[in-house]
Symmetry: C2
């Protein structure tokens, strides 16, 4: 049976609310996902929330009712509450009618199975949670196995990143590591490391990329450090026809991911 | 000579501050751009601000000093002020050390010269200012002439869109129109209208796109309306290998823009 919560000062309300904060997410090992679309994506990927909360106003959508029932059957905490309290949990004025708190998976490189997909995206020190979510979503669409976050990236489990991923946070593997840990891991198995750079004339459409291909995307304002570029198996250049010589990091990741896939069409 | 402003209640402070609001931007015909990188992009595109404000702390960067001098020579209003007042103008806790208010250009379709570029991006009812800015930036990199905003798009001159454009708001032409005005304008000259859709099997890499090519991007959550798709000369599909069958609108625009350019490589 769902628990009804009517008090803003309830401990579970406070717990869910706290998950907007990175420190609390790390301590609890949980993260927040909001809205039926993302919760359905999670369920379809075999993931159920540990806590689920929905509004006591209106009828529950049949898909939402299914997820609530499955969460309850799995021993999860099911909460029915007011839109105002949902709003407090999500920190938004117009909250989604349902949200869930999910266990964060293991993000060690050791947990990553590189043979699971021919394409992997790797991002270095990305600072914008929207970019991380968008890159996860692109990875899902382009058939990547997941996203490896190097060095000082923002948290992929932030509310903003989860939202921008449109559920790809559940379909893509996520790993986090320093460059110094990543490079030996990469070289311990098959894999071509491809960086995009302005310091080469080698066109991004020229190579027949190897599998698995690891596409390395640099920080939003600095691009890739020189020694990271030097460690790549291949540096390629996307044409930059404008004045600014740059693309948004998530846009560059999308162009590269689809170019790599395109190079495999006639294999 | 620069005017020194020390009062938060100064009229120019209030004016600049008001430009965070769409209604004020429309009434004043101005918009705000912040930071030396974007102001330099503007200057290099032949655009100077009508009002320029910079911090009285520290030495002015030589590039900034050049832009300030050029603005003054052109009869612009030059303001030196405190970081706190700059912060109030920009609405940010850590404001850039320089900002400018620029005249909004004519965004009518009649002002657009389609022969100026082989590629144009067209977006329908985009709701996210970051997406609009990112698409402008992608257009700059991919050699597009500009961005045509259809129907109910958010304002391309918002602070968020200008920031995400990284200066491409000054290098790309921008037009805004309803679909009902756009279609006759398009058909009044040369141009292939290409939509991306899940309702076709025609692969996005198959065509040799015509010039000028108008790439039509749908709203973030709905995609393109059926009658817009029906009016396209060509519908193409990008492979969607994941569960979600969707890409972020700005990511999709980037993949399509580069695919269209790639189809012209061997002409």
């Amino acid at each position: 049976m769902p628990r009804e919560i009517t008090s803003f000062s309830n401990d579970t309300v406070k717990l869910l609310r706290s998950l907007r904060d990175k420190k609390a997410r790390r301590e609890e090992g949980l993260f927040l996902a909001e809205g039926l679309r993302i919760l359905t994506e999670a369920r379809d990927s075999g993931r159920l929330p540990e806590i689920i909360a929905y509004s006591d106003k209106g009828t529950l959508h049949p898909l939402a009712a299914e997820i609530v029932a499955a969460t309850e059957a799995a021993g999860g905490d099911v909460i029915v509450t007011s839109p105002d309290i949902l709003s407090k949990m999500s920190g938004k004025d117009n909250p989604q009618a349902i949200l869930g708190a999910y266990r964060q998976p293991d993000t060690s490189l050791a947990a990553l199975d590189r043979s699971a997909a021919p394409l992997w995206l790797v991002a270095q020190s990305l600072r914008d949670p929207g970019n991380i979510g968008t890159i996860l979503r692109t990875g899902d669409a382009a058939g990547a196995g997941g996203l490896i976050l190097l060095d000082d990236c923002v948290d992929p489990y932030s509310v903003e990143a989860v939202r921008a991923s449109m559920g790809a946070i559940f379909t893509q593997s996520v790993a986090a590591a320093s460059w110094d840990a990543f490079l030996p891991w990469l070289r311990g198995g098959a894999g071509q490391l491809v960086g995009t750079s302005l310091n080469t004339d080698y066109d991004y459409l020229a190579p027949a990329y190897e599998q698995p291909c690891f596409v390395l995307i640099g920080n939003e304002s600095q691009g890739l450090p020189a020694d990271y570029e030097a460690a790549c198996d291949l540096l390629v250049k996307m044409p930059m026809l404008g004045r600014a010589d740059s693309l948004n990091a998530a846009a560059a990741a999308a162009v590269m991911a689809y170019a790599v896939r395109a190079s495999w069409r006639n294999r």
